[in-house]
Symmetry: C2
Subunit: 264 residues, 2 copies
Amino acid sequence: MIIVGEKINATRKSIAQALDQRDEAAIAAVARQQADAGADCLDVNGGNPDREIEADNIAWLVDVVQKAVELPVMIDTACPEAAAAGLSRVKKRAILNSVSLESERLKALMPIISEFDCDVVALTMSDEGPPESVSDRLKAAGELIELLLGADRDLDQIYVDPCFFPVASQPGSGRILMESIAALREEWSEVHIIGGASNISYGLPARQNVNLAAVSQAIYHGLDAAIIDPTAQGMMGIIHASEVLSGQDEFCLDYVNAQRTGYV
Amino acid sequence: MIIVGEKINATRKSIAQALDQRDEAAIAAVARQQADAGADCLDVNGGNPDREIEADNIAWLVDVVQKAVELPVMIDTACPEAAAAGLSRVKKRAILNSVSLESERLKALMPIISEFDCDVVALTMSDEGPPESVSDRLKAAGELIELLLGADRDLDQIYVDPCFFPVASQPGSGRILMESIAALREEWSEVHIIGGASNISYGLPARQNVNLAAVSQAIYHGLDAAIIDPTAQGMMGIIHASEVLSGQDEFCLDYVNAQRTGYV
Protein backbone atom coordinates (compact mmCIF):
# COMPACT_ATOMS: atom_id res chain seq x y z
CA MET A 1 0.00 0.00 0.00
CA ILE A 2 1.30 3.42 -0.98
CA ILE A 3 0.31 6.03 1.57
CA VAL A 4 0.20 9.60 0.28
CA GLY A 5 -0.07 12.10 3.13
CA GLU A 6 -2.77 14.65 2.30
CA LYS A 7 -2.10 17.30 4.91
CA ILE A 8 0.03 19.85 3.03
CA ASN A 9 -2.94 21.31 1.21
CA ALA A 10 -3.67 25.02 0.90
CA THR A 11 -7.40 24.45 1.34
CA ARG A 12 -6.54 23.85 5.00
CA LYS A 13 -6.37 27.10 6.93
CA SER A 14 -3.14 26.39 8.78
CA ILE A 15 -1.36 25.46 5.55
CA ALA A 16 -2.71 28.52 3.69
CA GLN A 17 -1.40 30.69 6.49
CA ALA A 18 2.01 28.99 6.52
CA LEU A 19 2.17 29.44 2.74
CA ASP A 20 1.28 33.14 2.96
CA GLN A 21 3.97 33.69 5.55
CA ARG A 22 6.46 31.33 3.88
CA ASP A 23 6.69 29.63 7.27
CA GLU A 24 9.13 26.85 6.43
CA ALA A 25 9.19 25.39 9.94
CA ALA A 26 5.41 24.94 9.99
CA ILE A 27 5.34 23.08 6.65
CA ALA A 28 8.40 21.01 7.55
CA ALA A 29 6.72 19.97 10.79
CA VAL A 30 3.61 18.71 8.95
CA ALA A 31 5.86 16.89 6.48
CA ARG A 32 7.80 15.14 9.26
CA GLN A 33 4.65 14.36 11.22
CA GLN A 34 3.22 12.49 8.20
CA ALA A 35 6.51 10.75 7.45
CA ASP A 36 6.70 9.59 11.06
CA ALA A 37 3.15 8.26 10.82
CA GLY A 38 4.11 6.06 7.88
CA ALA A 39 3.51 8.13 4.72
CA ASP A 40 5.36 6.94 1.60
CA CYS A 41 4.83 10.16 -0.38
CA LEU A 42 3.56 13.64 0.48
CA ASP A 43 0.91 15.52 -1.46
CA VAL A 44 1.58 19.23 -1.91
CA ASN A 45 -1.26 21.49 -2.94
CA GLY A 46 -0.65 25.21 -3.22
CA GLY A 47 -4.12 26.03 -4.51
CA ASN A 48 -4.66 29.67 -5.38
CA PRO A 49 -6.96 31.24 -7.97
CA ASP A 50 -3.95 33.14 -9.34
CA ARG A 51 -1.89 30.74 -11.47
CA GLU A 52 1.40 32.52 -10.87
CA ILE A 53 0.91 32.48 -7.12
CA GLU A 54 -0.05 28.81 -7.25
CA ALA A 55 3.08 28.01 -9.26
CA ASP A 56 5.26 29.89 -6.76
CA ASN A 57 3.50 28.17 -3.89
CA ILE A 58 4.02 24.68 -5.27
CA ALA A 59 7.67 25.31 -6.09
CA TRP A 60 8.29 26.59 -2.57
CA LEU A 61 6.37 23.70 -0.99
CA VAL A 62 8.34 21.12 -2.99
CA ASP A 63 11.61 22.68 -1.85
CA VAL A 64 10.58 22.79 1.79
CA VAL A 65 9.18 19.25 1.85
CA GLN A 66 12.25 17.77 0.14
CA LYS A 67 14.47 19.49 2.66
CA ALA A 68 12.42 18.16 5.56
CA VAL A 69 11.92 14.52 4.55
CA GLU A 70 13.31 11.90 2.18
CA LEU A 71 9.99 11.11 0.52
CA PRO A 72 8.71 11.58 -3.03
CA VAL A 73 6.14 14.32 -3.51
CA MET A 74 2.78 14.37 -5.20
CA ILE A 75 2.25 17.57 -7.19
CA ASP A 76 -1.43 18.27 -6.66
CA THR A 77 -2.70 20.73 -9.23
CA ALA A 78 -4.65 20.90 -12.46
CA CYS A 79 -2.81 24.09 -13.43
CA PRO A 80 -0.08 23.42 -16.00
CA GLU A 81 2.16 26.27 -14.82
CA ALA A 82 2.02 25.04 -11.24
CA ALA A 83 2.63 21.45 -12.37
CA ALA A 84 5.72 22.49 -14.32
CA ALA A 85 6.97 24.68 -11.49
CA GLY A 86 6.60 21.85 -8.98
CA LEU A 87 8.06 19.13 -11.21
CA SER A 88 11.08 21.27 -12.12
CA ARG A 89 12.09 21.32 -8.43
CA VAL A 90 11.76 17.60 -7.82
CA LYS A 91 15.00 15.87 -6.83
CA LYS A 92 13.85 12.26 -6.70
CA ARG A 93 10.50 10.92 -7.82
CA ALA A 94 7.18 12.71 -8.08
CA ILE A 95 3.62 11.83 -8.92
CA LEU A 96 1.55 14.36 -10.82
CA ASN A 97 -2.04 14.56 -9.55
CA SER A 98 -3.80 14.63 -11.94
CA VAL A 99 -4.49 14.37 -15.62
CA SER A 100 -8.01 13.61 -16.81
CA LEU A 101 -9.87 13.35 -20.12
CA GLU A 102 -11.28 16.86 -19.71
CA SER A 103 -9.92 18.23 -22.97
CA GLU A 104 -8.55 21.53 -21.74
CA ARG A 105 -6.76 19.93 -18.81
CA LEU A 106 -5.47 17.12 -20.97
CA LYS A 107 -4.16 19.43 -23.68
CA ALA A 108 -2.34 21.59 -21.14
CA LEU A 109 -0.85 18.77 -19.08
CA MET A 110 0.29 16.24 -21.71
CA PRO A 111 3.29 18.33 -22.83
CA ILE A 112 4.35 18.62 -19.18
CA ILE A 113 3.98 14.89 -18.71
CA SER A 114 6.21 14.44 -21.76
CA GLU A 115 8.78 16.88 -20.42
CA PHE A 116 9.12 15.54 -16.88
CA ASP A 117 9.68 11.90 -15.96
CA CYS A 118 6.99 11.70 -13.29
CA ASP A 119 4.41 9.12 -12.34
CA VAL A 120 0.86 10.27 -13.07
CA VAL A 121 -2.57 10.07 -11.47
CA ALA A 122 -5.20 9.37 -14.13
CA LEU A 123 -8.46 10.82 -12.86
CA THR A 124 -11.46 9.14 -14.51
CA MET A 125 -13.21 12.40 -15.42
CA SER A 126 -14.05 13.45 -18.96
CA ASP A 127 -15.80 16.26 -20.81
CA GLU A 128 -19.05 14.41 -20.12
CA GLY A 129 -18.56 15.17 -16.43
CA PRO A 130 -17.88 12.97 -13.43
CA PRO A 131 -18.16 9.21 -13.94
CA GLU A 132 -21.35 7.59 -12.71
CA SER A 133 -21.14 3.92 -13.56
CA VAL A 134 -18.48 1.25 -13.38
CA SER A 135 -18.20 1.32 -17.18
CA ASP A 136 -17.75 5.12 -17.23
CA ARG A 137 -14.70 4.61 -15.06
CA LEU A 138 -13.34 1.65 -17.02
CA LYS A 139 -13.70 3.57 -20.28
CA ALA A 140 -11.99 6.72 -18.99
CA ALA A 141 -9.23 4.68 -17.35
CA GLY A 142 -8.62 2.78 -20.58
CA GLU A 143 -8.27 5.95 -22.62
CA LEU A 144 -6.00 7.60 -20.07
CA ILE A 145 -3.79 4.53 -19.74
CA GLU A 146 -3.45 4.41 -23.52
CA LEU A 147 -2.40 8.08 -23.59
CA LEU A 148 0.09 7.67 -20.76
CA LEU A 149 1.62 4.54 -22.27
CA GLY A 150 2.01 6.64 -25.42
CA ALA A 151 3.85 9.22 -23.31
CA ASP A 152 6.40 6.56 -22.30
CA ARG A 153 4.98 5.71 -18.94
CA ASP A 154 5.03 2.13 -17.67
CA LEU A 155 1.86 0.67 -16.20
CA ASP A 156 3.25 0.89 -12.69
CA GLN A 157 3.81 4.63 -13.14
CA ILE A 158 0.09 5.14 -13.63
CA TYR A 159 -2.29 5.69 -10.69
CA VAL A 160 -5.92 5.39 -11.76
CA ASP A 161 -8.25 7.43 -9.55
CA PRO A 162 -11.85 6.15 -9.77
CA CYS A 163 -13.15 9.26 -7.93
CA PHE A 164 -14.24 8.92 -4.32
CA PHE A 165 -17.40 11.06 -4.45
CA PRO A 166 -19.30 12.02 -1.28
CA VAL A 167 -21.55 9.07 -0.53
CA ALA A 168 -24.04 11.34 1.26
CA SER A 169 -24.91 13.15 -1.95
CA GLN A 170 -25.18 10.07 -4.16
CA PRO A 171 -27.02 7.17 -2.54
CA GLY A 172 -25.63 3.88 -3.78
CA SER A 173 -22.38 5.41 -4.94
CA GLY A 174 -20.31 3.56 -2.33
CA ARG A 175 -21.10 0.20 -3.86
CA ILE A 176 -20.53 1.48 -7.40
CA LEU A 177 -17.13 2.79 -6.31
CA MET A 178 -16.11 -0.58 -4.82
CA GLU A 179 -17.31 -2.43 -7.91
CA SER A 180 -15.34 0.03 -10.05
CA ILE A 181 -12.17 -0.60 -8.10
CA ALA A 182 -12.64 -4.36 -8.48
CA ALA A 183 -13.28 -4.00 -12.23
CA LEU A 184 -10.23 -1.77 -12.72
CA ARG A 185 -8.07 -4.22 -10.78
CA GLU A 186 -9.33 -7.13 -12.82
CA GLU A 187 -8.63 -5.30 -16.09
CA TRP A 188 -5.19 -3.95 -15.14
CA SER A 189 -3.20 -5.88 -12.57
CA GLU A 190 -0.16 -3.63 -12.89
CA VAL A 191 -1.55 -0.10 -12.61
CA HIS A 192 -1.97 1.44 -9.21
CA ILE A 193 -5.45 2.34 -8.06
CA ILE A 194 -5.54 5.42 -5.87
CA GLY A 195 -8.17 7.53 -4.16
CA GLY A 196 -8.59 10.67 -2.13
CA ALA A 197 -10.51 8.65 0.41
CA SER A 198 -11.52 11.45 2.76
CA ASN A 199 -13.70 13.00 0.08
CA ILE A 200 -16.20 10.17 0.45
CA SER A 201 -17.33 11.36 3.89
CA TYR A 202 -17.95 14.97 2.89
CA GLY A 203 -21.18 16.29 4.41
CA LEU A 204 -21.45 13.60 7.09
CA PRO A 205 -20.80 13.91 10.81
CA ALA A 206 -17.96 11.97 12.47
CA ARG A 207 -16.30 11.66 9.07
CA GLN A 208 -13.43 9.47 10.21
CA ASN A 209 -15.77 6.48 10.62
CA VAL A 210 -16.71 6.71 6.96
CA ASN A 211 -13.10 7.25 5.86
CA LEU A 212 -11.95 4.15 7.73
CA ALA A 213 -14.75 1.98 6.39
CA ALA A 214 -14.16 3.23 2.83
CA VAL A 215 -10.44 2.54 2.93
CA SER A 216 -10.99 -0.92 4.35
CA GLN A 217 -13.57 -1.89 1.73
CA ALA A 218 -11.58 -0.27 -1.10
CA ILE A 219 -8.38 -2.15 -0.18
CA TYR A 220 -10.33 -5.39 -0.27
CA HIS A 221 -11.44 -4.56 -3.81
CA GLY A 222 -8.00 -3.60 -5.11
CA LEU A 223 -7.03 -0.10 -3.99
CA ASP A 224 -3.26 -0.06 -3.48
CA ALA A 225 -2.61 3.64 -2.91
CA ALA A 226 -4.50 6.22 -0.89
CA ILE A 227 -4.31 9.95 -0.33
CA ILE A 228 -5.21 10.15 3.34
CA ASP A 229 -4.21 11.65 6.66
CA PRO A 230 -1.82 9.05 8.09
CA THR A 231 -1.94 10.78 11.48
CA ALA A 232 -5.74 10.42 11.81
CA GLN A 233 -6.92 8.12 14.60
CA GLY A 234 -7.07 4.52 13.43
CA MET A 235 -6.17 5.16 9.79
CA MET A 236 -2.81 3.41 9.45
CA GLY A 237 -4.06 0.60 11.66
CA ILE A 238 -7.06 -0.15 9.50
CA ILE A 239 -4.99 0.08 6.31
CA HIS A 240 -2.52 -2.53 7.50
CA ALA A 241 -5.31 -4.69 8.94
CA SER A 242 -7.25 -4.48 5.68
CA GLU A 243 -4.22 -5.76 3.79
CA VAL A 244 -4.01 -8.73 6.16
CA LEU A 245 -7.68 -9.57 5.61
CA SER A 246 -7.41 -9.13 1.85
CA GLY A 247 -4.58 -11.64 1.60
CA GLN A 248 -1.94 -9.04 0.71
CA ASP A 249 0.15 -9.59 3.84
CA GLU A 250 0.12 -13.33 3.96
CA PHE A 251 1.95 -13.94 7.19
CA CYS A 252 0.96 -10.64 8.80
CA LEU A 253 4.61 -9.54 8.76
CA ASP A 254 3.88 -6.02 7.52
CA TYR A 255 1.12 -5.67 10.09
CA VAL A 256 3.28 -6.81 12.96
CA ASN A 257 6.19 -4.63 11.80
CA ALA A 258 3.91 -1.62 11.46
CA GLN A 259 2.71 -2.23 14.98
CA ARG A 260 6.29 -2.49 16.27
CA THR A 261 7.29 0.77 14.62
CA GLY A 262 4.25 2.43 16.12
CA TYR A 263 2.30 3.00 12.87
CA VAL A 264 -0.78 1.05 13.93
CA MET B 1 -27.54 -4.48 11.48
CA ILE B 2 -28.16 -6.53 14.59
CA ILE B 3 -25.55 -5.83 17.24
CA VAL B 4 -25.04 -8.59 19.81
CA GLY B 5 -22.95 -7.39 22.75
CA GLU B 6 -20.26 -9.96 23.51
CA LYS B 7 -19.06 -8.79 26.91
CA ILE B 8 -21.01 -10.99 29.32
CA ASN B 9 -18.79 -13.98 28.74
CA ALA B 10 -17.29 -16.13 31.47
CA THR B 11 -14.03 -16.48 29.58
CA ARG B 12 -13.42 -12.87 30.64
CA LYS B 13 -11.90 -12.68 34.10
CA SER B 14 -14.14 -9.94 35.46
CA ILE B 15 -17.26 -11.79 34.35
CA ALA B 16 -16.04 -15.12 35.75
CA GLN B 17 -15.45 -13.40 39.06
CA ALA B 18 -18.86 -11.69 39.06
CA LEU B 19 -20.43 -15.06 38.26
CA ASP B 20 -18.59 -16.81 41.11
CA GLN B 21 -19.70 -14.17 43.54
CA ARG B 22 -23.19 -13.86 42.02
CA ASP B 23 -22.46 -10.13 41.81
CA GLU B 24 -25.67 -8.94 40.17
CA ALA B 25 -24.66 -5.26 40.12
CA ALA B 26 -21.48 -5.99 38.17
CA ILE B 27 -23.28 -8.01 35.49
CA ALA B 28 -26.13 -5.49 35.28
CA ALA B 29 -23.60 -2.70 34.76
CA VAL B 30 -22.00 -4.50 31.81
CA ALA B 31 -25.46 -5.16 30.38
CA ARG B 32 -26.48 -1.50 30.62
CA GLN B 33 -23.14 -0.30 29.28
CA GLN B 34 -23.61 -2.39 26.12
CA ALA B 35 -27.26 -1.37 25.76
CA ASP B 36 -26.25 2.28 26.05
CA ALA B 37 -23.61 1.77 23.36
CA GLY B 38 -26.26 0.53 20.92
CA ALA B 39 -26.48 -3.26 21.40
CA ASP B 40 -29.69 -4.89 20.13
CA CYS B 41 -29.17 -8.17 21.99
CA LEU B 42 -26.79 -9.39 24.69
CA ASP B 43 -24.79 -12.58 24.54
CA VAL B 44 -24.56 -14.49 27.83
CA ASN B 45 -21.91 -17.16 28.23
CA GLY B 46 -21.57 -18.94 31.54
CA GLY B 47 -18.87 -21.33 30.39
CA ASN B 48 -17.78 -23.88 32.94
CA PRO B 49 -16.43 -27.39 32.48
CA ASP B 50 -19.11 -28.63 34.88
CA ARG B 51 -22.42 -28.80 32.99
CA GLU B 52 -24.56 -28.26 36.08
CA ILE B 53 -22.61 -25.19 37.10
CA GLU B 54 -22.79 -23.86 33.53
CA ALA B 55 -26.57 -24.37 33.49
CA ASP B 56 -26.92 -22.55 36.81
CA ASN B 57 -24.67 -19.77 35.57
CA ILE B 58 -26.62 -19.21 32.36
CA ALA B 59 -29.97 -19.24 34.16
CA TRP B 60 -28.73 -16.67 36.65
CA LEU B 61 -27.17 -14.51 33.93
CA VAL B 62 -30.39 -14.51 31.90
CA ASP B 63 -32.36 -13.40 34.96
CA VAL B 64 -29.92 -10.63 35.80
CA VAL B 65 -29.63 -9.33 32.25
CA GLN B 66 -33.40 -9.30 31.69
CA LYS B 67 -33.84 -7.37 34.92
CA ALA B 68 -31.22 -4.82 33.90
CA VAL B 69 -32.16 -4.15 30.27
CA GLU B 70 -35.06 -4.60 27.86
CA LEU B 71 -33.04 -6.51 25.25
CA PRO B 72 -33.27 -10.07 23.94
CA VAL B 73 -30.51 -12.42 25.04
CA MET B 74 -28.26 -14.76 23.12
CA ILE B 75 -27.77 -18.04 24.97
CA ASP B 76 -24.16 -18.90 24.21
CA THR B 77 -23.46 -22.54 24.92
CA ALA B 78 -23.03 -25.87 23.20
CA CYS B 79 -24.19 -27.68 26.34
CA PRO B 80 -27.82 -28.84 26.07
CA GLU B 81 -28.52 -28.56 29.80
CA ALA B 82 -27.25 -24.97 29.87
CA ALA B 83 -29.22 -24.12 26.72
CA ALA B 84 -32.43 -25.46 28.24
CA ALA B 85 -31.75 -23.73 31.57
CA GLY B 86 -31.17 -20.40 29.83
CA LEU B 87 -34.07 -20.66 27.40
CA SER B 88 -36.50 -21.61 30.16
CA ARG B 89 -35.85 -18.25 31.84
CA VAL B 90 -36.30 -16.11 28.73
CA LYS B 91 -39.18 -13.64 28.95
CA LYS B 92 -39.09 -12.17 25.45
CA ARG B 93 -36.98 -13.40 22.56
CA ALA B 94 -33.73 -15.30 22.60
CA ILE B 95 -31.21 -16.53 20.10
CA LEU B 96 -29.51 -19.85 20.76
CA ASN B 97 -25.81 -19.81 19.86
CA SER B 98 -25.25 -22.32 18.38
CA VAL B 99 -26.24 -25.52 16.68
CA SER B 100 -23.86 -27.10 14.16
CA LEU B 101 -23.67 -30.28 12.09
CA GLU B 102 -21.34 -31.91 14.62
CA SER B 103 -23.51 -34.94 15.26
CA GLU B 104 -23.30 -35.06 19.04
CA ARG B 105 -24.08 -31.37 19.42
CA LEU B 106 -26.85 -31.57 16.85
CA LYS B 107 -28.48 -34.58 18.46
CA ALA B 108 -28.46 -32.95 21.89
CA LEU B 109 -29.66 -29.52 20.79
CA MET B 110 -32.40 -30.29 18.26
CA PRO B 111 -34.93 -31.41 20.91
CA ILE B 112 -34.27 -28.18 22.80
CA ILE B 113 -34.76 -26.15 19.63
CA SER B 114 -38.06 -27.96 19.17
CA GLU B 115 -39.10 -27.27 22.75
CA PHE B 116 -38.29 -23.55 22.92
CA ASP B 117 -39.37 -20.95 20.37
CA CYS B 118 -35.98 -19.31 19.96
CA ASP B 119 -34.04 -17.99 17.01
CA VAL B 120 -30.95 -20.07 16.25
CA VAL B 121 -27.35 -19.51 15.18
CA ALA B 122 -26.35 -22.13 12.62
CA LEU B 123 -22.60 -22.58 12.90
CA THR B 124 -21.13 -24.01 9.70
CA MET B 125 -19.08 -26.73 11.41
CA SER B 126 -19.53 -30.43 10.81
CA ASP B 127 -18.03 -33.76 11.84
CA GLU B 128 -15.43 -33.18 9.13
CA GLY B 129 -14.11 -30.27 11.18
CA PRO B 130 -14.07 -26.55 10.61
CA PRO B 131 -15.06 -25.32 7.14
CA GLU B 132 -12.19 -24.38 4.85
CA SER B 133 -13.71 -23.35 1.54
CA VAL B 134 -16.68 -21.29 0.46
CA SER B 135 -18.46 -24.45 -0.62
CA ASP B 136 -17.86 -26.14 2.76
CA ARG B 137 -19.76 -23.24 4.32
CA LEU B 138 -22.53 -23.21 1.75
CA LYS B 139 -23.05 -26.95 2.15
CA ALA B 140 -23.17 -26.84 5.96
CA ALA B 141 -25.43 -23.79 5.93
CA GLY B 142 -27.82 -25.48 3.49
CA GLU B 143 -28.10 -28.59 5.67
CA LEU B 144 -28.58 -26.58 8.85
CA ILE B 145 -31.19 -24.31 7.29
CA GLU B 146 -33.08 -27.40 6.09
CA LEU B 147 -33.04 -28.87 9.61
CA LEU B 148 -34.16 -25.61 11.21
CA LEU B 149 -36.95 -25.06 8.70
CA GLY B 150 -38.03 -28.59 9.62
CA ALA B 151 -38.05 -27.50 13.27
CA ASP B 152 -40.55 -24.76 12.41
CA ARG B 153 -38.16 -21.87 12.18
CA ASP B 154 -38.64 -19.14 9.59
CA LEU B 155 -35.67 -18.06 7.50
CA ASP B 156 -35.37 -14.81 9.43
CA GLN B 157 -35.05 -16.76 12.69
CA ILE B 158 -31.87 -18.38 11.40
CA TYR B 159 -28.44 -16.78 11.85
CA VAL B 160 -25.81 -18.49 9.73
CA ASP B 161 -22.32 -18.17 11.20
CA PRO B 162 -19.63 -18.72 8.55
CA CYS B 163 -16.91 -18.93 11.25
CA PHE B 164 -14.56 -15.98 11.70
CA PHE B 165 -11.30 -17.92 12.15
CA PRO B 166 -8.09 -16.18 13.23
CA VAL B 167 -6.59 -14.78 10.03
CA ALA B 168 -3.08 -14.95 11.51
CA SER B 169 -3.17 -18.73 11.64
CA GLN B 170 -4.68 -19.27 8.17
CA PRO B 171 -3.17 -17.07 5.48
CA GLY B 172 -5.77 -16.23 2.86
CA SER B 173 -8.68 -17.07 5.13
CA GLY B 174 -9.89 -13.45 5.27
CA ARG B 175 -10.73 -13.41 1.59
CA ILE B 176 -12.35 -16.86 1.76
CA LEU B 177 -14.51 -15.63 4.63
CA MET B 178 -15.68 -12.56 2.70
CA GLU B 179 -16.42 -14.65 -0.39
CA SER B 180 -18.34 -17.08 1.82
CA ILE B 181 -20.47 -14.30 3.25
CA ALA B 182 -21.22 -13.02 -0.26
CA ALA B 183 -22.11 -16.52 -1.45
CA LEU B 184 -24.38 -17.17 1.55
CA ARG B 185 -26.11 -13.82 1.03
CA GLU B 186 -26.65 -14.57 -2.65
CA GLU B 187 -28.11 -17.99 -1.88
CA TRP B 188 -30.35 -16.90 1.01
CA SER B 189 -31.53 -13.31 1.06
CA GLU B 190 -33.70 -13.80 4.13
CA VAL B 191 -31.44 -15.55 6.61
CA HIS B 192 -29.25 -13.48 8.86
CA ILE B 193 -25.50 -13.84 8.54
CA ILE B 194 -23.69 -13.41 11.84
CA GLY B 195 -20.14 -13.61 13.09
CA GLY B 196 -18.10 -13.43 16.26
CA ALA B 197 -15.91 -10.88 14.57
CA SER B 198 -13.33 -10.42 17.31
CA ASN B 199 -12.13 -13.98 16.83
CA ILE B 200 -10.55 -13.04 13.50
CA SER B 201 -7.83 -10.95 15.18
CA TYR B 202 -6.75 -13.63 17.65
CA GLY B 203 -2.96 -13.80 17.94
CA LEU B 204 -2.32 -10.36 16.40
CA PRO B 205 -1.27 -7.16 18.17
CA ALA B 206 -3.57 -4.10 18.26
CA ARG B 207 -6.50 -6.42 17.57
CA GLN B 208 -9.11 -3.69 17.29
CA ASN B 209 -7.70 -2.60 13.89
CA VAL B 210 -8.34 -6.06 12.50
CA ASN B 211 -11.78 -6.29 14.10
CA LEU B 212 -12.84 -2.97 12.56
CA ALA B 213 -11.53 -3.85 9.11
CA ALA B 214 -13.18 -7.28 9.25
CA VAL B 215 -16.56 -5.91 10.26
CA SER B 216 -16.42 -3.26 7.55
CA GLN B 217 -15.52 -5.72 4.79
CA ALA B 218 -17.99 -8.32 6.06
CA ILE B 219 -20.90 -5.85 6.10
CA TYR B 220 -20.09 -4.95 2.51
CA HIS B 221 -20.39 -8.64 1.59
CA GLY B 222 -23.67 -9.27 3.41
CA LEU B 223 -23.11 -9.67 7.15
CA ASP B 224 -26.16 -8.27 8.93
CA ALA B 225 -25.51 -9.30 12.53
CA ALA B 226 -22.33 -9.27 14.59
CA ILE B 227 -21.28 -10.44 18.02
CA ILE B 228 -18.91 -7.67 19.02
CA ASP B 229 -18.01 -5.26 21.80
CA PRO B 230 -20.20 -2.22 21.06
CA THR B 231 -18.24 -0.18 23.58
CA ALA B 232 -14.89 -0.72 21.81
CA GLN B 233 -13.32 2.38 20.28
CA GLY B 234 -14.62 3.00 16.77
CA MET B 235 -16.75 -0.15 16.49
CA MET B 236 -20.28 1.26 16.31
CA GLY B 237 -19.04 4.08 14.11
CA ILE B 238 -17.51 1.79 11.53
CA ILE B 239 -20.57 -0.47 11.53
CA HIS B 240 -22.92 2.40 10.72
CA ALA B 241 -20.47 3.87 8.21
CA SER B 242 -20.07 0.50 6.50
CA GLU B 243 -23.83 0.29 6.07
CA VAL B 244 -23.82 3.72 4.41
CA LEU B 245 -21.08 2.66 1.99
CA SER B 246 -22.76 -0.66 1.22
CA GLY B 247 -25.99 1.02 0.20
CA GLN B 248 -27.96 -0.22 3.22
CA ASP B 249 -28.63 3.25 4.64
CA GLU B 250 -29.57 5.07 1.49
CA PHE B 251 -29.97 8.58 2.80
CA CYS B 252 -27.56 8.15 5.72
CA LEU B 253 -30.46 8.57 8.16
CA ASP B 254 -29.41 5.73 10.43
CA TYR B 255 -25.86 7.01 10.42
CA VAL B 256 -26.85 10.54 11.30
CA ASN B 257 -29.29 9.32 13.97
CA ALA B 258 -26.65 7.05 15.47
CA GLN B 259 -24.32 9.99 15.62
CA ARG B 260 -26.95 12.14 17.31
CA THR B 261 -27.66 9.51 19.93
CA GLY B 262 -23.95 9.19 20.58
CA TYR B 263 -23.47 5.68 19.19
CA VAL B 264 -20.87 6.65 16.58
